[in-house]
Amino acid sequence: MTTEAPVTIGGMGHSVKRKEDARFLRGKGHYIDDIKLPGMLYMDIVRSPYAHARIRSIDASKALELPGVLAVITGKDLDAAGLAWMPTLMSDKQMVLPVDRVVYQAQEVAAVIATERYIAADAITLVDVDYEPLPPVIDPFKALEPDAPLVREDREAKTNHIWHWEAGDETRTDEIFQNADVVVKQDLYIPRIHVCSIETCGCVASFDKVEGKLTVYMTTQAPHAIRTVFSLVSGLPEHKIRIVSPDIGGGFGGKVPVYPGYVIASVASIQTGLPIKWIEDRSENLQADSFARDYHISAELAAKSDGTMQALRVKTLADHGAFDAAANPSKFPAGLFSVITGSYQLDAAHVEVDGVYTNKPSGGVAYRCSFRVTEAVHTIERMVDTLAQKLQMDPADLRMKNFIPPEAFPYKSATGWEYDSGNYPAALQKAMAKIDYAGLRREQAEKRARGELMGIGISTFTEIVGAGPSHTFDILGIKMFDSCEIRVHPTGSAIVRIGVQTQGQGHETTFAQIVAEELGLPVENITVEHGDTDTAPYGLGTYASRSTPTAGAATAVAARKIRDKAKKIAAHLLEASPDDLEWVDYKFQVKGAPGRSVTMKDIAFAAYTNFPPDIEAGLEAVDYYDPPNLTFPFGAYICVVDIDRGTGMVKIRRFVAVDDCGNIINPMIVDGQIHGGLTMGMAPALFEAITYDENGNIQQSNLMDYLLPTAMETPVWETDKTVTPSPHHPFGAKGVGESATVGAPPAIANAVVDALSHLGVTHIDIPITPWKVYQILEEHGATEG
């Protein structure tokens, strides 16, 4: 992998322009709403205004009188077919449509099928639902009180407590805390946020009554898993279900779950034999689709007085809303939150999480984050700064003192993870040099003396991605391997089909580059297909930064299988023993005779026209890759903020991001991933939060109230890298899709707290809005103007 590929091949390490951009930049992308099938009907959904209510009756007569309305589907209709409930990906169950009770505002209550989209929208206003409001429980702490309203009457356990989960060594951790020189404690709330991808969710379900086959074009990040779930729920044989995930306008974890709209549309299509289109509007998407974060964390860090960190103790309340519909691996209801010890050597740690139901939509989406890693990283990176402040140590020095040293890898963390590789000091040193950390501290001292508020924040995060090894990771029992199938055509081009599904990551380019590198075929001659369960090999989908660590590895291994066979054909063509051949400069040559060589293009033609008698024709391979471990990308981010004392506005002046994602396939795409991720990390740090009033009314149901950053709010990101390959990945890659989203928020929060630390401020919960900062300034008499 260290050989620099010629540009004509475009293999590893080349900033090949994204193949998919040719259609995106020309407006030729093909999204769900672009699909129009003959005879297609339209669906719209009646939603609950109440967060908690009993449904006394549903009267659809007025809606059915509207010309163009063909059907109104209710929970009772679905219940008759055994489809009123569906399993979630987290071993809970979820209402498709309620029979007699709604448990969050904007929950689906009924669906209207009409000949036109606008008729369907008109008709939902004519469906008369008689509700009896019930008291909702919105606060997860109150949900655990004995007299709290019960969110889930359907469960045998008459409590809002879902599960308790813990990791680490409680006894050892408590011992260290009892004898520690210093203990810092901090409560943190990581607020509920929404992925808010540009494309909302939707589907076109089309049932062919003649073939008995259901095709669902769907905005999903995991088409194969969805097909299996659909088969289990509907009873249709799996080969009679085809899920197609076309171009996806952003997923970020929000398009992993199965939403009721998909199921209702499918039922309607099976009933009518006609295609049914359902597309959410923006407010429906913001109000009802699954949410991320919503962790109430109480953390303690024990250390020696010289700053040596010793133990971490964390208790967390996880607000999952009304259904536990997170797509976490089965054994990990709190995801990979136990990576919370981060980049630091600790003697012990103990982490507890309790999941709670509330009258809110389902939570727990891994929003551009490998299953609760954002919450974990924010906690440990804030706690390190809290300790530094307590000990009056520089936060960079404290980190350097406590980093897991490069020579300690593979490193077993206090909660049991085996980190594959890392060089944390090198990344932080690079970031500090690039931003002139010492100079910034001098500038800060000068400005502080003048009364100006400037802060410097560091985040040295470790990610955990690439789920995962089959012995530990599954979703609903399906092991989290991933796959690739490669066919090399006679003329030396190839088609690559993968089990993961792109939503903007650039798979059509990067996976072609992997094959180009392994087989020496030019990247432009390689087509990558994904997202169609009738043609792609089975895989668990794209989320949690798992595509390159799993399907990327499968692609390399499948290509190597092809190369192994190609070597035998090459030997036949060169009239040499395979043992006498070597793979040099993307061709097989006879050792010591560079003039005697054949390219993969030559071999491909021979594989169909002139292959040796003991080898079957063709040149193709498939691989289902079961990773031996997760991968652990990391990075060092430094953020500089200036705070306006007149308004409380936080301005990010500089942000240096040094990322290490192992070996890089396409530096330009990695840079793009990091730029996007940093912006998506800045958003919850400064702007985004979904909140509810006491009645369970969402307060950010539209983009006037839910502030997404635009170019106006986004600073110039300065990116750099170190390269520490993963020792167990076939080409040393680790994954990068989430690093920036995970690493950015604590760097920003740490910078703001640093700017205000001389006032006695030790913590501010995100989002750090101007209003919040201004209040703090007022409390400390530090406002201006």
Partner: protein, 169 residues
């Protein structure tokens, strides 16, 4: 949301009370009033058009009069659902005679708004409610205090005239 207020009405207590028991007269003063079904002496279903910010909705309220004690006390419960929104209201009125032709009108109301209107219009909800209450009382007083000049209800309801006292939330 809790609202309460006091109005001075230049009319005898019995006139005020009779007006309040006349569903057509009260509904005629309700801003956005469209139509009404009268199902009984204490059970009405008025339909109202409500606009908060960018959200417009048509509510049919299920209104019940309760605990009516002539000539000074009455209570109202109302429940209505529109597309994606719902409103639940309880209101209590107590009248106090001040003079032969002057009545103090004490009232409070607890209103719960749910759904789209509460979400999208959250920041505008309370100020809009205050405006609507002011319009209602302007109409109410106009009709009671000048019964000869029977102004059309819709015109009165859209009047911007402010009452002497502003209700406080």
């Amino acid at each position: 949301m809790h609202f309460e207020g006091t109005q001075q009405i230049n009319a005898p207590i019995q006139s005020v009370f009779d007006f309040l028991l006349d569903a057509n007269k009260v509904a005629g003063c309700a801003p956005g009033f469209i139509s009404m079904d009268i199902l009984g002496p204490d059970h009405f279903k008025p339909t109202l058009g409500v606009g908060i910010g960018a959200v417009k909705a048509k509510f049919t309220l299920d209104v019940h009069l309760q605990n009516v004690r002539a000539p000074d006390h009455g209570e109202v419960t109302a429940h209505g659902v529109a597309a994606g929104s719902a409103v639940d209201l309880t209101a209590v009125v107590d009248l106090v005679p001040v003079a032969a032709a002057e009545t103090t009108f004490n009232w409070f109301a607890d209103v719960t708004v749910s759904g789209t209107i509460a979400s999208v219009g959250a920041r505008l909800l309370e100020s809009t409610a205050h405006k609507q209450i002011a319009k209602f009382f302007a109409c109410f007083k106009q009709k009671l205090e000048a019964p000869v000049s029977e102004a059309p209800a819709a015109e009165a309801a859209s009047s911007d005239a402010s009452p002497p006292e502003t209700p406080k939330a």
